[in-house]
């Protein structure tokens, strides 16, 4: 993979590992296990959503209609494109293309920031429309309590997701800096690869959140 043959450019192998292959396999497996824990972490909220969606179906549909599908849809596209950039970044790291890697990582982070900005605009809009539980919540329709429950779940799920996006942006920026310093050259691309797994995971969570929260009320 690496063109260079000088001994100084050997991939860095931790002293507990025999070779770079073992190190890569271990890191990847570790990340997959971590992502499994993340699935279960979000799982508690998905369970709560499912139960109340089943119990209070009509109110959830009515409440869902008040969310902004346009912003939600745009954000879906933004995250999907960011994941594409991330996938290219992993490829660039494997091919030892430093400039492309820096650009793609920064691009991924930038799209993450776009997502967060749109989310902030949307949260503010929700606040103005009196949709935030306990903070001037108003509901004209039937069963205001159940509607408040829907918005509580909406804020909990998208909020938890937003925390993950923020962490992801920070990781991407750090990686971009390290890439610029040439730390991922010569087969040391492990960090980029496992950060990519994390970013795709965050993306996939949104792919589930978007239809559950925004589209259940729309035909």
């Amino acid at each position: 993979m690496s063109i260079s043959i000088s001994p100084a450019s050997e991939p860095f192998v931790g002293e507990q590992f025999d070779d770079i292959e073992q190190q890569r396999d271990a890191a990847k497996l570790g990340m997959w296990i971590f992502l499994a824990t993340e699935v279960l972490f979000f799982g508690g909220l998905f369970l709560g959503y499912t139960i109340y969606r089943f119990t209070y179906g009509h109110v959830f549909v009515a409440a869902s209609r008040k969310l902004d599908v346009l912003i939600g849809g745009t954000n879906t596209a933004v995250l999907l494109i960011s994941s594409l950039l991330m996938a290219f970044a992993v490829r660039a790291a494997k091919l030892d293309q430093r400039r492309a890697l820096v650009g793609l990582l920064a691009g991924t982070a930038l799209l993450g920031c776009v997502f967060m900005s749109l989310k902030a605009v949307e949260y503010h809009k929700d606040y103005v429309d009196h949709l935030v539980p306990r903070m001037g919540f108003k509901w004209e329709g039937t069963d205001p309590g159940n509607a408040e429950l829907f918005y509580w779940i909406y804020f909990a799920m998208t909020g938890l997701h937003a925390i993950h996006v923020t962490v992801g942006i920070a990781i991407m920026l750090v990686l971009a800096l390290l890439a610029w310093l040439g730390k991922f050259a010569h087969g040391n691309h492990n960090a980029v690869e496992i950060a990519g797994l994390y970013w795709h995971f965050v993306d996939i969570v949104w792919v589930f959140l978007f239809p559950l929260l925004y589209l259940v009320g729309h035909r």
Partner: protein
């Protein structure tokens, strides 16, 4: 045979490895270490502090319970005492106990590795654990929590006037250290095994740690989100468990027990693994049904995820759900029973040496069996309605947690102590402490089965006078149990410097961890061992010298 054993003896006895993992003495070398052995010892020191605090809480409760009417503490203080005892014992002692101390210390050596797969994450998990513990202590110092370790809603979210959020945050943070440890152990077991060490050549302790890690990784995040939800709900005044909005407090119980029942197996599976090591070593015999014992660990881990509803037989759960959870709970008895039968079958025709670790192991088998069988009573729907939330339940799970896990922890600590410190503890004191622990434990908890069956509810400090005799017996037992725990603390500290030098393999055991010097060098082995045979290749030698002569 005897001649061979003596020859090994002469070659190996009396060597205290100078070049070992303890050679550096600075504080910095400890706080920044990535050596799994040192991290194990850091954990040991930390969990002992929590064990001590939680034991003091238990002692205060036992003293209070000597009389039917409150004498020592108010009702509110009593509630806080049992909460402290539960929270600290469960999350800050039992869950980390065997995995993070003995697991960290011996797992990489058992598989012939230089360290775990992620040594820096391993150190980080300890710091996260300390941070979680600090939050819990902060909550304790500011007045404590009175919800019980179960944090049931809506009491915890709405009505309790105590420091629920900081305590829940402490447990939440500590949960991440559990997750990191579980992930690290799984990757280590998958990727770091020595050449020739196939899955079915792994020591059974490794199998049990692997099963435990699986639960740690899959169950702990559910607890994390649940605790986050009750904290937010308490802080925000609104949430998904809130009945005012149509939310369901029982959903909290489902989520909590979806974690906390598997967590019970985090608190026993590693103990079972230790017992498998001890029984086979001190019977000088191969374990009976190796594959069955290993697979039983995995079966317990998987079945453990399907039984949480048996905590909720009286919590408005449908009777059909109750019946299914009841049947599934009975099923857990099958792999547990396989283990007990196989340990017993291993003893048969073995050359049994009644060393201290073996006494703990034999105690474990008896106590675990009682704890397990009473678990079947509780899994039976109708019986559970009668004994639910009584001392019967308390006695049952203490037989598993204390009679099982703590006995296994003590047994394992004695067994690997020569490897950890390079020195032997005084054998006679060890045997004495093991027997005192066994007697004290039974005297503490057996009367509680009777109390519970007669109807004494848990978490009450006022009770009818006719129950007093059982409470007095229980408190007397707890005092004896306390002595049983203090003794090892004293002689371990003594033996750290003054014990007889152990040599690499004082028990003549077969595991890879015994093939290196004691205490082991920084990277465990001078060269990576190559494994060519299954584990536990013992032959039933009667006269082999296991260094059991008292000093």
């Amino acid at each position: 045979m005897i001649r061979d054993a003596t020859e090994i003896d002469i070659k190996t006895r009396g060597e205290f490895a100078r070049d070992n993992y303890l050679s550096e003495h600075t504080v910095r070398s400890w706080l920044l270490t990535t050596d799994h052995k040192r991290i194990g010892l850091l954990y040991l020191g930390t969990i002992l502090i929590f064990f001590l605090i939680a034991s003091v809480a238990a002692a205060l409760m036992r003293i209070e319970l000597l009389t039917p009417q409150p004498k020592l503490v108010t009702s509110e203080t009593y509630n806080k005492l049992f909460t402290i005892h539960g929270v600290l014992m469960v999350w800050f002692f039992l869950i980390p106990s065997i995995p993070t101390v003995l697991g960290n210390f011996v797992l990489p050596m058992m598989i012939g590795a230089r360290d775990v797969a992620f040594p820096r994450l391993n150190l980080m998990s300890w710091y996260i654990f300390v941070a979680g513990g600090a939050l819990a202590l902060w909550s304790l110092i500011h007045g404590g929590v009175d919800t019980g370790w179960t944090f049931y809603t809506p009491y915890s979210t709405t009505y309790a006037n105590s420091h629920v959020i900081s305590m829940a945050a402490g447990v939440f943070v500590a949960g991440f250290s559990t997750i990191v440890t579980g992930m690290n152990f799984m990757v280590t077991t998958h990727k770091m095994r020595a050449p020739g060490l196939t899955w079915f050549r792994l020591p059974l302790f490794v199998w049990s740690l692997y099963a435990t890690s699986l639960i740690m990784v899959l169950a702990t995040p559910v607890l994390a989100i649940t605790l986050a939800l009750i904290s937010v709900e308490r802080f925000w005044g609104v949430g998904i468990f809130d009945p005012k909005l149509g939310g369901d407090p029982v959903l909290f119980q489902h989520l909590f027990w979806f974690y906390s029942h598997p967590a019970v197996y985090i608190m026993i599976l590693p103990g079972m693994g230790v017992i498998s090591e001890l029984i086979t070593c001190f019977s000088r015999k191969r374990i009976f049904g190796y594959a069955w014992v290993g697979c039983a660990s995995m079966a317990i881990a998987i079945l453990g995820f399907l039984v949480w509803g048996h905590h909720m037989f009286v919590s408005s759960q449908s009777v059909y759900a109750g019946m299914i959870f009841s049947i599934l709970s009975f099923l857990v008895a099958v792999p547990s029973g396989i283990k007990v039968f196989n340990w017993t079958a291993t003893l048969r025709k073995g050359a049994i040496h009644f060393a201290t670790p073996m006494l703990y192991a034999l105690g474990f088998i008896g106590l675990f069996t009682i704890g397990g069988l009473t678990g079947l009573f509780l899994a039976a729907l109708a019986v559970d309605v009668h004994v639910h939330d009584t001392y019967f339940v308390i006695a049952h799970f203490h037989y598993i947690m204390v009679g099982g896990m703590v006995m296994a922890f003590m047994g394992g600590l004695h067994y690997w102590w020569p490897k950890i410190s390079g020195r032997l503890y005084p054998e006679f004191a060890g045997k004495l402490a093991a027997m005192i622990t066994f007697i004290g434990f039974n005297l503490t908890f057996f009367p509680q089965f009777i109390l519970g069956y007669l109807g004494q509810p848990r978490r009450y400090h006022v009770y009818p006078p006719e129950f007093q005799i059982f409470h007095v017996l229980s408190t007397a037992g707890a005092s004896i149990l306390g002595i049983g725990y203090l003794m090892p603390l004293i002689y371990f500290i003594w033996a750290w410097r003054h014990g007889r030098v152990a040599g690499p393999n004082p028990w003549r055991a077969t595991g890879l961890e015994w093939q290196t010097t004691s205490p082991p060098p920084k990277h465990n082995f001078k060269e990576t061992p190559i494994v060519t045979a299954p584990p536990y290749m013992y032959s039933a030698e009667k006269d082999v010298d296991l260094n059991l002569a008292s000093i």
